[in-house]
Amino acid sequence: MTSNFRSLPVIALLTILSLPLVVMYAFTLVDSITDAEPGSLIPSEFTFHHWRFLWDDTTGRGSVWIATINTFIFAGSTAAIVCATSLTSAYALSRLNFPARRFFLAGVIILHAFPTITLIIAIFLILQFLGLFDTLIGVIMVKAALELPFGIWVMKGFYDTVPWEIEMAGVQDGASRFMVWRKLVLPQVQPGLSALLIFSFLSGWSEFILPLVLAPGSDAQVLSTYLAYFLLDDSLEVDFNLFKSVGLFYALPVILIYLAFQKKLMNIYGGGSKG
């Protein structure tokens, strides 16, 4: 009881501070299924009209379902590439003594801190040269490459917490280095891996700049660019409630993933496995 009373002021403060956000989200939800008189905040009629993008091509840019599938492919492949590469390279950086290891470590940190946008022209030219401009594969590769430093760094942190003696004990027990990694080390960094998987999926899901610049066509568009199109294209009649509905549709998977995996996501900040 006492501890509840003591946290009451904190809860009150947090409530007040987050109230504007909550109100905005609430209105997004309400507006997406209602219509209001011009200039009024109070909705006057209930309608599914703003969700028409689900069955009509309202933009002339193709179906929202294609964009959704593209987004899943984009975010999923990015996450898969980032995880597979981080898992192996972070192990090498954490455990193996190879030439120029320090150089790689420093490089990873610098790349992690590097603003993406400064690279965009160079990447654009390279993709065009490779013939990967305006393709999903091209954006996936770029996105994965840019996410990698973070992934490697996080996974290295997890590997570093696995005691060296555990691996040595495994080797003494007769297991090969690969088997030691697979059977003894991997289970211990698994929480980090799940967190990284979700994290990079979400990062891919919300990526906007890269698809916008590198895949502007409608074939490879993802939900973020699909959504932005409502604002960017002057020829379309502005329908803010439609925009809000698409936004909700876009955010839904993110909310679901957070709800389902919030515990695992916390791991990435805690670092390391316990028990």
């Binding site: 005691p163 040595m168 004990a169 003494q172 027990d173 007769g174 297991a175 090969s176 211990q188």
Partner: protein, 349 residues
């Protein structure tokens, strides 16, 4: 199985940590590698199990030359200081891991795990996780895992360092019992002389990457080759006195100490006398005058420091109950048969 290290040399970068070390551990023997921190005990141990490569020399298990074999092919069981149990497996799987690697069938694995669990007294813990065990129990599991595939040699790196005093006492005799019951050749790395003396058949005392003396515990205690060995063994430690040989006596300031018959022909000039605390006290008559400068009550015994007029300190251990006070002047004798004489450089005379 006999273990033989021959002129083993190990360098890290350009630093020679072990230089031309020879060591033979007989079959079924338990050998202690004892020495101060940084003397190369762990390095030697990790070389024997194959974690470190040798820069020179050879290593034989029996007739087999294993110098260039990887760890996996050496058949060595290792117990690490922090036990290194696999946290995500229960105890049964932990112990079974070395057997799973060998792809034995389930029936054999179950039988062997059961047997070894009996040996180390943990059959009731098999379904727990390492995090649910006490330090002593984890230690037993680590032993079981190291022993389950019947290694040629068992290596223990400071196995008792992480235990509290009471458990340490218990595990000391447990490890020895298990070693004797299995008859395995074992090497115990420790910097605790009590551990080495109480658990092992022989002790190799190391310093700066060299073995200074290799002998049985009581011999090393009573017959050290130099002041380093004499000072390393014994608790409370031996005390050293500078003395001159004159008139058939060791002269310390104004007082004289008799020279034993065995030492009489060998000593002359300046010497260092090593006197263990149990050989200095009133029960040996009178001889040296000094002031009591420190009293420590240990229950059964009392430990006194006596400062002589020339400033050197002698330690004495006495049965409890004498109740001598700090600052009191005493005149105690020395058991001259047990006084050890060293040259001023520290070599035993």
């Amino acid at each position: 199985m006999q273990l033989r290290l021959n002129s083993f040399t190990k360098t890290f970068d350009n630093l020679t940590v072990i230089d031309e070390l020879n060591l033979t551990v007989e079959s079924g023997e338990m050998m202690a590698l004892l020495g101060p921190s940084g003397c190369g005990k762990s390095t030697t141990l990790f070389t024997i199990c194959g974690i470190h490569r040798m820069n020179g020399g050879t290593l034989h298990f029996g007739d087999r030359d294993v110098s260039n074999l990887p760890s996996q092919k050496r058949n060595v069981g290792v117990v690490f200081q922090n036990y290194a149990l696999y946290p995500h497996m229960n105890i049964r799987e932990n112990i079974a891991f070395p057997l799973r690697v060998q792809k034995l069938d389930n029936a054999t694995i179950t039988r062997k795990v059961g047997e070894i669990a009996e040996l180390v007294h943990i059959p009731e813990l098999l379904d727990r996780r390492p995090a649910q065990l006490s330090g002593g129990q984890q230690q037993r599991v680590a032993l079981a895992r190291a022993l389950v595939r019947q290694p040629d040699v068992l290596l223990l790196d400071e196995p008792l360092a992480n235990l509290d005093a009471k458990l340490r006492l218990e595990m000391r005799s447990e490890i020895r019992r298990i070693q004797l019951e299995t008859g395995i050749t074992a090497i115990l790395v420790t910097h605790d002389q009590v551990e080495a003396m109480s658990m092992c058949d022989r002790i190799a005392l190391m310093k700066d990457g060299k073995i200074i003396q290799l002998s049985e515990p009581d011999q090393m205690y009573n017959d050290p080759v130099d002041t380093f060995v004499a000072g390393f063994l014994g608790n409370p430690p031996i005390s050293f006195l500078d003395a001159t040989v004159a008139d058939g006596q060791f002269r310390v300031g104004d007082s004289g100490i008799a020279i034993s018959d065995a030492l009489q022909p060998k000593v002359h000039g300046q010497v260092q006398l090593g006197i263990r605390p149990e050989y200095f006290g009133p029960q040996f008559g009178i001889g040296l005058t000094g002031k009591i400068s420190f009293v420590e009550t240990q229950g059964r015994e009392d430990l006194y420091n006596v400062t002589l007029p020339n400033g050197s300190i002698l330690r004495s251990i006495q049965p409890a109950g004498r109740r001598l006070k700090l600052g009191e002047t005493v005149n105690w004798g020395i058991a001259s048969d047990h006084a050890l004489a060293f040259t001023p450089e520290g070599t035993r005379i």
